[in-house]
Structure formats: structure tokens, C-alpha cells
Symmetry: C2
Amino acid sequence: MILKNIGEFGLIERIAKHVKAGKGVIKGIGDDCAVLKWTREKHLLATVDMLIEDEHFKRAVAPSAIGWKALCCGISDIAAMGGVPKWALISAGLPKDLSVAYVDKIYAGLAKAAKRFGVSIVGGDTNASRKMILDVTVFGEVKKENLVLRSGAKPGDLIFVTGSLGGSVYGKHLNFTPRLKEAQVLVKNFKVNSMIDISDGLSSDLGHILEQSKAGAIVYEYLIPKSKRARTIENALSDGEDFELLFTMPAKEALRLLEKKRKLFKMPVTRIGTIVGEKYDSKLVDIFGRKRDLQAKGFTHF
Amino acid sequence: MILKNIGEFGLIERIAKHVKAGKGVIKGIGDDCAVLKWTREKHLLATVDMLIEDEHFKRAVAPSAIGWKALCCGISDIAAMGGVPKWALISAGLPKDLSVAYVDKIYAGLAKAAKRFGVSIVGGDTNASRKMILDVTVFGEVKKENLVLRSGAKPGDLIFVTGSLGGSVYGKHLNFTPRLKEAQVLVKNFKVNSMIDISDGLSSDLGHILEQSKAGAIVYEYLIPKSKRARTIENALSDGEDFELLFTMPAKEALRLLEKKRKLFKMPVTRIGTIVGEKYDSKLVDIFGRKRDLQAKGFTHF
């Protein structure tokens, strides 16, 4: 049996079996970040994301965009927990014959993202490698009352997304803005029951929330905000790397959000569905009221 | 100009220019770990180490040893700061056609090291990659009074190493034991002025201490404890990945250590030289009293 046969999530399940929750671990494998015991008021958040040449980007891409993306993936994870990023470690594998000017631009992209989102780069590792590799660990902190997990969705919650979805492969996946500001506004003003950043694709990431929350969902196809670059609804459902926020909140909070959203946000915040009990499973409803199964078809690595 | 021309340390210098020390950063780039503000009594330590197939190991190697090493590199870094490891994130790039059994063994090796040294694996990332990549972030804590940096060596300090050096390429580099216990005994019982783990090689890692401490050193060639696998003194001076501790302490403390070392340690702890002022530079003295320059000839990646 090879990795391709069990897939990414099969692999993660196997890994989780080797791992025992230990001291000071509030939430280990299974969310956007690990949540670790920190101070009386706050938890420490930690996440890591690897980008590999020819798997995630081509060398022809602007090197500053590679650096920007490498750091912003982790910032997006921290945001989706309700936290703010603080520090980062940059681990790099770089070809010996890569030009110094190219490498400078990668690090300039990293530094730009660091400055924009208030992150200090505090260390890392450098190695020779045939393909470029950038693996970035981001640490953040979250006030205990602001922590949002994937596992908190409850039947009756309304489901929301920020921005618009699909077609990020045409450029947004390299130049996206992590929704840090929006996530902070959300957790400071509302009771958010569950949240995730859309990295694998709407259907898959909603699947992560449902699995962790032991819940089902009804999503209204015609409410999903399709980006200009999305050709079909399938793009909005399954394309990875939108890095928008997907979140759920109780109906009462949701009504407050719908009322205030134009004042609070500079971007669309759209209701796309409802959380239901687990036994209802996950359905996509079209404009004629026809239901079909909403299957996780987003990006997986294997 | 390409990376090969500026070398690993040239690259790190360039990277450091992009980086500004920020809030809560006690020590950023330039030591075994980043040191970050935590509580009144302790600091957070964080370090990351990347292993790449065919750069650091061959696929034919026992996969459990790859996992063991991937975690132990970071544990060794935490130990060398006077800290104890707590949590780890495992970021992996794995070929799609790798057998699940092989991957299980890698994670079993990681889990074995985690259990042995009290580390909880709290998250990570998994990606498809043509070559295997394991990038492990380790977090630890250090009591403020136990923190040891590379930069604290003072003229008059005696220089010590644990264990024996050289020839780790014949096996030890995969199965080494991080000197966590020994480092803890040191920082709890003595005033240690500077410490590093020997990963690049004795001459290079002593060079890191001297550079950060703005000091020189006299090392007595005939005092260096050569391992059985080291053929010449050059192996003991320049082979990387011994993962022994190299440290300096004031003469008075050193005398106490020499007196007590048999009771406190189960392995050799050997005095190999003396820290001198910067202008004396770094000299190696042979058994006839002849001096030659001690140049950093250890492992570099580019």
C-alpha cells in the first residue's frame, strides 16, 4: 500500500495514532493551529506550512510572491483561530545555483508580509536542496475568550464566508491577503462557534468543520459568492487556496452580523447555509430546491 | 552571483538584514534557538531543522532513524540553550509512491524520540514531494536563570566538550542522543557562560561562539576527545553532526566541574582549551607547543 492509496487525510489519521496529547496541549492535531497553554489570559497558537517548488509554485513565479505566500499561509491559520500572529521561523531548502538576487527577493516577500501583519521573523534553517522548499512556522496568541475551533459548530448555526470563492489558481493563491483584520472584528464583536480558513476548498474545509463538530450542513448553491475567476460553481466549491474565512454562528448572532456587516467589513460577508444535525449529512441545494450530496472534493496532496 | 558563492553563512547574514527584532524577541537569528518572552520565570525557545532526502540521508536508511533524527536535532538545540523541550510540529514532504509502512516507521521514530524526551507532537503539515522532506519545529522552555547563549564566552573561560568527536557519518549522526540530561545537569549546577551543540563541526561551532562572544580561543589538539570512528584529528575538528555539547565556563566553575564530573556525568566531559581575547584569534596547539590557525572547516550546506 502506498500513500496515494490512503490519501492525505488517511495519512493524517495514521500520524495521529502515533501521537499522544501531552502536558500543556489544549488542542493538538486536527485544527488550523495547535493551541498550547501560555498565560492566564491567552493561549499560544502554532502552525506550519510547507511550499515546494513544482508542487505548489513554479520557479518562474515572482520570488517575492513565494515569500509572501509562505508566511501568509500561517498567518491565515492563526487568524482562523481568532488569534494574532507574533513570530515566525523560516526553514528553507534552496538550490546551490540559485541566484542571490532571487533569494533576496524571496526574503523581501517574507519581510513584507511580516511587516504588514506585525510578525517578527526570529529564526530558521537553511539547506541545499534540488527543489526550492519554504517551510514556515508561525506562532501567535489568542485571548482565551476569542479562541474559535473547528469543532464548535452547532445545529441551527448559520454558515458564512468572507470574500468570494474559486479560481484562485489564476493568481490570488500567491497574492492573497490573510483575513486577519476580519477575523479579529468577528471574534471581538460576535460569538463565533466555529471557523476555518479555506485552503483545501469550500467543500473540503466545511467537511473539516462538520467532522470535528459532528454535524451536517445545508448549503445553498445560489448563495455562494463566486469570484470573477471562477467559471462554474464547482470552482467555488472545490478550488483550494482562497484563504477566505468560513465560519458559523448562532442565528441570533448571525442576524446581528447581517445588520452590522456593512459598517464592520470592507468586503462581502455572505451567508451560504445552515448547520444541521449529523444525521442530515451535508447537502447542496440549488435554486429549484433540488438537493444533492455535498462531497468534499477540494485539494488533497496525495 | 549564486548561493554557492556566498555560502551558508553569507546567506544567513543577508537574511538577517531583512529581519527586524520585534516585540517579545529576546534573541532572534544567531543562536541555537530563538528566545521569546513568556512568563516571569521562563522564556519560550523555538527552533526548526530540515532534513532532505539525498542531502541529509538516503532512502535506504532505516526510516525510524530518519524520524528519530528529525526530532532530536531540535531537542539538541533546546538542550544547548539550557532548556527542556515541550512541543513539536512535524512538516513533511513525502513521495506519493512511498509505502505506507515506510511512512509509519518514520512517524514511529518521531514518536519514540518524543516519548523519550517528553515532547508532545501537536501538529504539522503533509505534502506530496518527489524527495522526502522532514522539517521539525521544536518548542521548549528555559528558566531565565538557566538560559545560556552562544554570546556569553569570556576571556579566561575554559572550553569543554561532552562525549567524543568525529566520524559521526558512520552511524552516530542518525542515532545520536541529544545531550539534554547533561545540559540540564550543567545549567543547574554551574555557571555556564556559553554553549552550543556541535552540529556543523567543532571548529565551526566554536567559531560561532567566538563570533557571537567577540572572543578568541586556544584549543589543545591533544586534549580533543576523538571518537573511535574518527581517523584523524581533522575528523574530530570538522565532521558535522556529533551533537555533543560545546561550552565554556569561568575557571573557578570549571575546577568545580572537573572535581565533580565523575559523579554527575556518565560520559566524558573534557576540557579542550581556553577562551582568550578577540585579538588573539583562534589557535590550535599541538603536543610540541606549535600553534596553527584554527579555521572553521565544518559542514556548510552551500
